[in-house]
Amino acid sequence: MALSYWTDWEVRTTGNTNNGGGFFNRVPGASIDYSQQNASQLSLTDGACLLASVTLTSVIGGFTAGMIGNLIQIRAGGVNFVAGFYEIVLVNSANSVNLDRTPVAAGNGTGGLGEVGGAIASIETFIINGTHYNTCFVKSGTYTFTAWRSQVGSILRIFGYDISRTVSPTGNNRPLIQLSTFYIQQTASLEFENLRFTGSATQLILGKARGLMATNCTFENTNGAGARYCIYFDATLMGNAPGRSRFLSCEFKGTAGATSYGFKYVGQSQIQTDYAAHIGFIFCFFHDLTYGYQCDQSAYGDSGALFFKCIFARIGGDSIRCSFVVANKYPLVVVFCSFYGATANHLNIGYKCNNLIYGNTFDSAVAFACLDTVTNLFWHIDSNNFWNNGAPVSGCVLGVDNIGLNPLWVNPAGDDFNFGAGSPCIDNAIGTRLGV
């Protein structure tokens, strides 16, 4: 066996590195979740186990029926024990349990040290120990990384919470992940929710596979020099990256002095032409960056992207840049977004066709709101508002129903991009006609 798919881990600042840290509701009604507490439920100092056996015994005892499904962390110190996290899958007696797999190697185990239950104190522990479909609940607080960490389990979920696991916190009530000079490497599907990430490494998250999903997260690279990324996807030699990645209600922020990127994607190869294609940003906020989203020029592959109701503000270069130099099939879809301030262009696109630019407000791009680096007549730029840009378009053509009026933001300097009273952008939405 192995750790169960549906194991839930608990991380809190008041936890302990040695604790069991996880729970799977193996026997509903009998299993008791001891991971959601600061201290372990049982501390084991005399663990014993025969070679290759899954039965762990203790003369001192203390096992209870409710412990089934809890993780026990066996740590270094015993004889022949392999340190790690194990699930109690059967309670034989107060002195004996069965684990999901044998905890010993090379001989009979004696003097085993372990903790049953209790929260662990580090997300890093989960990243390198969590297995398929495991979820890590992170209680509000500040967590500082001690090394860069690469994801091991193939589908991991990390969820921040404040008071209750069922309530999503906002703002500073979300756990703060201080990556310091380190980063997290994503190697398979990985989900973040309700977290704040800060750090000064080249990137906070290094994407290496498809399926990075984040909801209600903030990514801030605090380094004020060099090329810095909130999320950097390097698909070199990888298949299908970063397709199927989704960012919902997330914030991407850089620091003055750096060439900063909210999301950058490099390393496409020809094999990635399909599943690499589809990235979605919904209700996201990119600000104080050099580039909000950039896809590297490449001979192959692509990153067809959807931007839905996103805001780009105070961009030092291009808000969205996909200036390819060869044809690629994936359109850019930008709908109902707000763009405020770019020292170059809001959209800088090349060799993409059938782009849908609909219902957006483009404000204050020094050069162009929409730039195609080649003359491309196959854009669809309808029902947008263009205000105070160098020019609305270059290399592409405006469609119908565009306007050029002051959007009357409430307070853009204060990051309030709501439309004020009398704004021409209010109710500029669409209604689906039946029998169109």
Binding site: W6, Y133, T135, I155, R157, F159, T166, S168, T170, G171, A188, S189, E191, G211, M213, T215, G243, R244, R246, L248, S249, C250, E251, T273, D274, Y275, A277, H278, G280, I282, F283, F285, G304, L306, F308, K309, I311, K329, Y330, P331, V333, V335, C353, N354, N355, L356, Y358, L377, F378, H380, D382, D415, F417, I430, G431, T432, R433, L434, G435, V436
Partner: protein
């Protein structure tokens, strides 16, 4: 020379297949568009042309300077090559220059029309419909319309077919849009790459694939187009079929089938597909994927009266946002591949009266938030549901449609009004 990329074609039911049908505003202020009229401006039967020459003469005269830029359709005559030609120069009332040589020897007794609208998007029109051109189709019913077999446009240029009612660009709706009754025929594409826009039309056909890209790299933009599959039996049948290597962007469109057939709105078949503000109804499924997809965005659409699932497929990579799903024989959204190929994002939708489930998926991970489920077998059917921390903030109330089946606007008292996401800055 050749026919111009900047030409506009005119098709109207009161036109004529012999007419010139096209116009290029070659000399602004002088050129007059004679294509936007039923009858030709000039009819000739005595055209002459020396071998290898672009100069066409007529002993009976009739040419005017204003005809420059108009198309002349030559349809008969000794050594004349049938086709559309642009008048590029006025030499005199008895002489003009064409864009290219119209003869294979010494031409005599040439029969031709200058100006006047074409009567349909005929094979002849399509053969000279080049990148950059727009075919304007005036309102009316085009019965027994032939196949429209399109070819390349080039990478960054477009071929456009645009319906209108009274004047070009008026973007009619409902039955004021021209109706192409294709019968068993279809719109197809073959070639290397085609960028095609179709706007403001109604299209009916019983062909297996009403729009059928035979080759890859077909990029299509549909706006304000209604496609009705009229077959009453058989299947699978498709209003729109995908083109691997291509992309489709669809805005303000309608897809429907006919009872008795197994009909689908769209099968992307490897096409990157975005559908915005469109209506799918009376189909087996609205969108069905025969294999993997290259990305599916469905935004602000309505799906109702589906015999099966509204959106169904495997290995989809989907963003399904702000849609209405109602009366589905199976599920609103169905992604049926198990395992780690996930990534679906389903937010802000309303699922009502879906027999099996509002949303049915074996994929993981996915995001399912801020939806409303009402009257469905179960809201979400998923092997991963037990741990779906991302499946939250959903509601389960009567959406209070104004008139289900015909009007999916929300009543004033609906709990779904203004329930959508609003974005927090500094999230």
């Amino acid at each position: 020379m050749s026919l111009p990329t900047t030409a506009n074609w005119e098709v109207r039911i009161t036109g004529n297949a012999n007419n010139g049908g096209g116009f290029n505003n070659r000399i602004p202020g002088t050129s007059i568009d004679y294509s936007q009229q039923n009858a030709s401006q000039l009819s000739k039967a005595d055209l002459a042309c020396a071998a290898g020459s672009t100069t066409v003469t007529s002993a009976t005269n009739g040419f005017t300077p204003q005809m420059v830029g108009n198309y002349m359709r030559i349809r008969a005559g000794a050594n004349f090559t049938v086709g559309f030609y642009e008048i590029v120069q006025f030499n005199g009332v008895g002489s003009i220059e064409l864009d290219r040589v119209p003869v294979t020897g010494i031409g005599a007794n040439g029969v031709a029309e200058v100006g006047g609208a074409q009567i349909q998007i005929s094979a002849a029109v399509v053969s000279d419909f080049i990148a950059g051109n727009t075919i304007h189709v005036k309102t009316g019913t085009y019965a027994a319309h032939p196949n429209i077999a399109l070819t390349d446009s080039g990478q960054f240029t477009v071929k456009a077919i645009s319906g209108y009612d009274v004047v070009r660009g008026d973007a009619p709706i409902g039955n004021n849009r021209p109706l192409l009754q294709l019968g068993v025929n279809k719109i197809s594409y073959s070639g290397v790459v085609l960028n095609l826009e179709i706007k403001n039309l109604r299209i009916e056909s019983s062909n297996t694939k009403v729009i059928d890209p035979i080759n890859t790299n077909f990029n299509l933009f549909l706006k304000n187009v209604k496609i009705t599959h009229t077959a009453i039996a058989g299947g699978p049948l498709y209003c729109l079929y995908g083109s691997a290597g291509g992309n489709y962007t669809i805005l303000d469109c309608e897809f429907s089938g006919t009872a008795g057939a197994i009909s689908y709105g769209i099968n992307p078949f490897g096409t990157a597909l975005t559908v915005l503000n469109s209506h799918f109804h009376d189909l087996t499924s609205g969108i069905v994927l025969a294999g993997g997809s290259s990305g599916l965005n469905v935004l602000f659409c309505i799906f109702n009266r589906m015999a099966q699932s509204a959106i169904v497929g495997s290995e989809m990579s989907s963003c399904i946002i702000n849609n209405t799903f109602a009366n589905c024989g199976r599920s609103g959204f169905q992604n049926v591949i198990a395992g780690v190929i996930g990534g679906d994002l389903v937010i802000n939708n309303t699922f009502s009266d879906c027999i099996t489930a509002g949303m049915e998926t074996l994929s993981d991970p996915f995001i399912c938030r801020n939806n409303n489920f009402y009257g469905c077998g179960v809201p979400v059917l998923s092997s991963a549901f037990r741990s779906l921390r991302l499946c939250d903030n959903n509601t389960y109330v009567n959406p209070q449609f104004v008139a289900p089946g015909s009007n999916y606007a929300l009543q004033r008292t609906s709990g779904l009004i203004d329930r959508a996401f609003s974005m927090r800055l500094g999230v």
